[in-house]
């Protein structure tokens, strides 16, 4: 059975009496030790998906429907008390900005020990030892000394290492990393991602990596979901999605990478912007920006069709497949 299974997840935000849909029924699952990437523009619903797994969407957001199953527990039907046992313990989360994720007035040791003692009945001495072990795991120089330091005494890369150590403190089954390297510079990014990947492998932790950086996704994950306006529009093995994207949006995302552009030319950007949540176009949400859009795209919501290893929600791809099939049978 899958470690995490999300079915028809529907998350809404109420604003001025109306509810806007941030996630419009997404399905995905994650196996033990698997690494999954979720990509998409800002506002596609990536972070909302992450927070809703822990049932931590801030007011006025709420889960309007769907089913989140983690290791046999129905997370969205659990009480706050039961959920607290899962949070931090079985599922850990890593945030975008390492400058902000640590409490500035507590020493790192205090924060790590506090986290351990909130979930386990252990002495401070034992907790300190576990904290030290984890700091060694993330390859921090002189870990003993770090425990008595404050967050502001460390650099951004060091802090992100500490945060990874905190995420690993209780040996979770799943780490949700919400753009963990966006705030770091490029060389540190690569180091941190390599560390995270290695640790997930050795500790057998599943990783859900949320990012808009397709480069990172291609290096780290085995499977990728592409999200647009609250829906998954393409999913499948990362290699296939990167090498042979089917959905026009995924193609656009890849073309927009700076290394895809011809030197001296403009970057290839996708025209237009992500629609706002209270004004999502009917049919395929991508149709106003899509160069292949037909009249059918403005009417019908596309369903997933399988093309080789990936699944794509696009009328054009569906039509092309149908044509090929007809051609084959003739």
């Amino acid at each position: 059975m899958a470690l995490l299974d999300v079915r028809q997840l529907d998350v809404r935000f109420s604003s001025r009496g109306k509810a806007v849909q941030a996630l419009r029924g997404i399905d995905f699952s994650l196996e033990r030790g698997e690494r999954l990437g979720i990509v998409g523009e800002s506002g596609a619903g990536k972070s909302v998906a992450a927070f809703s797994i822990l049932n931590l969407i801030a007011h006025p957001g709420f889960i309007a429907g769907g089913e989140i199953t983690f290791d046999g527990h129905h997370l969205n039907r659990m009480s706050e008390r039961q959920l607290r046992k899962i949070r931090g313990d079985r599922i850990a989360m890593i945030f975008q900005d390492p400058m902000m994720t640590l409490n500035p007035v507590l020493t790192l040791g205090a924060q790590m020990i506090e986290c351990l003692k909130a979930h386990r009945r252990i002495s401070t001495r034992e907790a300190r030892q576990i904290a030290l072990d984890k700091l060694n795991l993330v390859q921090i120089p002189s870990p003993e000394r770090r425990l008595d330091q404050y967050p502001h005494e460390l650099s951004g890369g060091m802090r992100q290492r500490i945060i990874i150590a905190i995420a690993l403190l209780l040996d979770p089954d799943l780490i949700i990393a919400d753009e963990p390297t966006t705030a770091l510079d490029v060389t540190i990014q690569a180091e941190i991602m390599a560390l995270l990947t290695e640790l997930c492998d050795t500790q057998n932790v599943a990783l859900m990596l949320i990012t808009h950086d397709l480069g990172v996704v291609s290096q780290v994950t085995r499977r990728t979901l592409v999200m647009y306006a609250g829906r998954i529009i393409e999913q499948g093995p990362t290699r296939e999605i990167i090498n042979d994207p089917q959905h026009p949006y995924t193609q656009g995302l890849l073309d927009a990478l700076p290394q895809m552009a011809t030197p001296g030319e403009r970057l290839n950007q996708i025209p237009g912007a992500m629609p706002s949540l209270n004004n999502i176009p009917p049919g395929c949400a991508f149709n106003p920006r899509c160069t292949f859009a037909t009249e059918r795209c403005t009417r019908e919501v596309p369903h997933f069709v399988s093309t080789g290893g990936t699944q794509v929600a696009c009328h054009m791809v569906e039509a092309m497949l149908a044509k090929e099939k007809a051609h084959d049978t003739v």
């Binding site: 931590l56 989360m93 902000m100 994720t101 002189s142």
Partner: protein, 319 residues
């Protein structure tokens, strides 16, 4: 092996709390601010003098047997008719004014600190709740604060004082007056602190470390008191300092109106009031000397509060 010794060395070099304080900006700016130094010095002298009163006050003003009515309204010793036994003169009942002021300052300081402690307990609790939970809890608590602020401290004191006096009688009132004043001033002024705390919590709550704490599975009280509260402490320090001065003034005003400390255990306010009737007859010292002490005490605390605000708020730099 060498790895271990090096970490041990590093640990030995880690600064302790005292060393950190010695290097802190707080101490640095204190050393460079003569006004703050002078104020702290005066404040410490007044506090020690007041709380040590039983040891060095010439007489005990609470001991009615030690008072001789024949000594009443003696001027300070440096004026004609003054008596060396009463350095600052005597009041209308023949109590030594110096001793009475020392004991009175002690009462005023007790009420000032007690009331602010009370304000802090209520204000921090309600401010954290309102700021952290928001929504209906926030709205309710803040409207409550608005209502509380629309009653003046004096009005609350008059009401409560009158009720307690009527139900327990004057003698009983004398025994509970100190605690009663702390409660009244504490309850009347908690919204000041609650609003400050709420504002800081709103700013802190949006930071990711609070999300991170929730993701780690911490309970709301732990997040509020261990993670948010320490990050909102500096404005609380500043406002609490100013509130001590305000509480002392409030107490003096209440006592002056006869709603505060009874004359048998005078505070600075009730001393000023007891002398007020004799100002026209020439015994100015009974009012003026305690008045001067009150002014100096409040001024010193306010100046310390100003200094603290400048230090703790880096955006407010003196030009």
């Amino acid at each position: 092996m060498s790895e271990e010794t090096s970490t041990a060395d590093l640990r030995a070099q880690m600064p302790g709390a005292w060393a950190r304080f010695r290097k802190s900006y707080l101490l640095y700016s204190f050393k460079r601010d003569p006004v703050a130094q002078l104020c702290l010095l005066i404040f410490i002298i007044i506090t020690i003098a007041a709380f040590g009163a039983p040891w060095w006050a010439p007489t005990d003003p609470y001991d009615l047997t030690g008072i001789d009515i024949m000594n009443s309204e003696l001027p300070p010793m440096w004026l004609d008719g003054g008596d060396a036994a009463f350095p600052l003169g005597t009041d209308a009942q023949g109590r030594d004014l110096l001793s009475t002021i020392l004991y009175g300052t002690r009462v005023s300081l007790l009420i000032g600190f007690g009331a602010v402690a009370m304000q802090c307990v209520l204000g921090i609790l309600f401010g954290l709740l309102a700021g952290y939970f928001g929504g209906i809890i926030d709205a309710t608590l803040m409207r409550l604060a608005d209502i509380q602020l629309s009653f003046s401290t004096l009005m609350v004191a008059i009401l409560v004082g009158a009720i307690v006096k009527a139900s327990f009688g004057n003698l009983m009132f004398g025994q509970v007056a100190l605690i009663l004043l702390i409660l009244i001033i504490g309850i009347a002024e908690w919204p000041q602190i609650a609003r400050t705390v709420r504002a800081s919590v709103l700013a802190e709550r949006s930071k990711e470390y609070v999300d991170a704490a929730r993701v780690m599975g911490f309970r709301a009280p732990r997040i509020m008191f261990r993670h948010l509260l320490p990050n909102t402490l500096s404005p609380i320090f500043v406002i609490a300092t100013v509130q001590i001065a305000n509480a002392i003034i409030s107490e003096a005003a209440l006592s002056f109106l006869g709603l505060g400390m009874p004359e048998t255990q005078p505070s600075l306010g009730s001393l000023i009031k007891s002398g007020f009737d004799y100002i026209q007859s020439g015994a100015w010292w009974i009012t003026l000397i305690p008045g001067a002490v009150l002014v100096v005490l409040v001024l010193v605390i306010n100046l310390l509060g100003d200094w603290l605000r400048d230090v703790m708020n880096p955006r407010l730099h003196k030009g």
